[in-house]
Amino acid sequence: MAVEATTGPEPLVARRSFRSFMSEVFGPLLQVLAFVIGSATILGLLVVLVAAALRGTRTDIDLLQGTISILPQVIVDGLVRGFLYATIALGYTMVYGVLEFINFAHGEIFMVGAFAGAFFSAALAASGMLDGLGPVLFVLAAVLLGMAVSGLLAMSIERVAYRPLRNAPRLVPLISAIGVSLVLQDVMRMIAVNSGLGFNASFKTPDLGAPIVLGQMQIAADRTIPISIDSRSLIFIIVAIMMVTGLNYLVNITKLGTAIRAVAQDRPTASLMGIDVDRVIAITFLIGGALGGAAGVLFGMRVGTVNPYIGFLPGLKAFTAAVLGGIGNITGAMVGGIVLGFLEAFVASYLSLFTRGQFSGPSYADIVAFSILILILIFRPSGLLGEVVTQKV
């Protein structure tokens, strides 16, 4: 390349067009939106049909009216659960993408992020500054702190517990991950109990505002009910969408993102391009950990208390969401999270209504959701968006 083309045809410089930029940043988001609308519509229609069919069996309440009146709340609940699983699932799927390894400590990285937020809010409350900060600044600061703590933690774990085992048989780092997750639970318990925060630490927030009324819904000739969303759920959804958009930009557009994808596809060849593979892997843990930490803070903020074991179940479900969407696929993780979140929200809310309280929805939600997952995986083992990649040799 010593000689520059000074004559000849028009330079064939291939710049990324504005259109391709938009489609790579917002395309995955549109896909997620399609699954949100799809899940809400299909499940919504399903419960309405079931309610209509069962209507005659109930004389005590109007089942159809009851079903429709809670539907908006159920959809909001589905969205929040969906984005919770989606943001955690991204950490699993990104690490799997570059290392083909399941980081089972990721649920605990989420938990530590939640505690970082709880410590932050407790420190603010102790100094009397909690209400002075204002909701926007508080959420921003807490989320950024959670991202920093969890991101750095994930990166350190990779350095200490996974990198030395990079060439060991595949089960070995998996065991290491389980060990790390137990250590994190108990170390966090020790810190929480001895710091005065307590095992069940309360996550205080400034006044985040009243529920926002989106509109009125007519459910009977003489009755309308407001459709509203509480501010914590709204914050959760907004922050999650911002993070997911940022991630799409980072992974699909930037040089670092291209390097991450190159490492995910072919590690030795990536190093032949001058990419420091170890560094890219560390950065992948940093990004995945930061997303998990942000999810932890948002989760803690919404639930109001955190304890050292809150990472286990969301972690396991987010892992399932990642597999459901097609593990290794970033858009897939988001879609898998959304689908799982909606399934759970619908089962949790409607199961007891339809069975006259014989089956309590929240306790059966996991069983139903996981059974449906098993079915999906039997018929689509590569996940909803998993692609079979044909690679010519």
Binding site: M1, P11, K255, A259, Q265, D266, P268, M273, V389
Partner: protein, 237 residues
């Protein structure tokens, strides 16, 4: 001082002794070819130079500086780039992204754009497919992309592993004439080939590898007329 030099290099795959004391030198501006049959150690030699394999014994020198313990990405930064065996295109990156990743070590955006233009002038087919994923290209197109990708890093030494593999004869000639052009523009090339006839047609010098050892080293014209080379590698009886 040669630009690239191997001194008594021994490389192992586990317990398998793959390179048994390879010594070779590539001077600035040359095309040097390594020929030999399957399993002779040609790709292993290139993988050792690029740092993917660490020699257990011996030295690899670039510009007189030892690089045999340098990690692969640092070797690329020095200017030693490889287009690996089997092309190794990133299947889910687009053609443009594959070329961009080839220039990963660089930050001179304007010059990168000019180099990408240059690659498209060399391989107009790639321009037609610029937004297509690498995995959807034909074998010949992938080979063009692999060479173009390595050129994007502005190599001082370009290591080419079997650029003719699996290609139609007409395409092989085209690829080899482009390799000649790249060299004429100042890039030093170490070319590994099973197609000894083509390799010796464009190379200045060559080495013949047999089971991990160099058995013959000479100028390309001399190797073309060597009886042993003719019988074993050129298919002439």
């Amino acid at each position: 001082m040669p630009l690239l030099e191997l001194k008594n290099v021994h490389t192992y795959y586990g317990n398998i002794h793959a390179l048994k004391g390879i010594s070779l030198a590539v001077e600035q501006g040359e095309i040097v070819t390594l020929i030999g049959s399957n399993g002779a150690g040609k790709s292993t030699t290139l993988r050792t130079i690029s740092g993917l394999l660490k020699p257990r014994q011996g030295e690899v020198l670039f510009n007189g500086q030892r690089i045999d313990t340098t990690p692969p990405h640092k070797i690329v930064e020095l200017g030693v780039l490889q287009s690996p065996e089997g092309r190794r295109i990133f299947p889910r990156l687009t053609v443009r992204e594959n070329l961009e990743i080839g220039a990963f070590i660089r930050s001179d955006k304007a010059a990168m754009a000019r180099d990408m233009d240059r690659v498209f002038q060399l391989f107009p087919r790639l321009y037609e497919r610029v937004n297509q994923r690498g995995g959807t290209l034909s074998g010949g197109e992938q080979q063009m992309l692999a060479i173009g990708r390595a050129l994007m890093g502005r190599p001082k030494v370009l290591l080419l592993d079997e650029p003719s593999m699996g290609l139609a004869p007409v395409l092989v000639e085209q690829i080899f004439s482009i390799i000649s052009d790249i060299n004429a523009q100042g890039t030093t090339i170490l070319l590994v080939e099973q197609n000894a006839l083509m390799a010796l047609a464009i190379a200045h010098r060559g080495y013949v590898l047999q089971t991990g050892q160099i058995v013959l080293a000479d100028s390309a014209p001399a190797l073309r007329t060597n009886t042993m080379v003719r019988e074993a590698y050129l298919g002439v009886v």
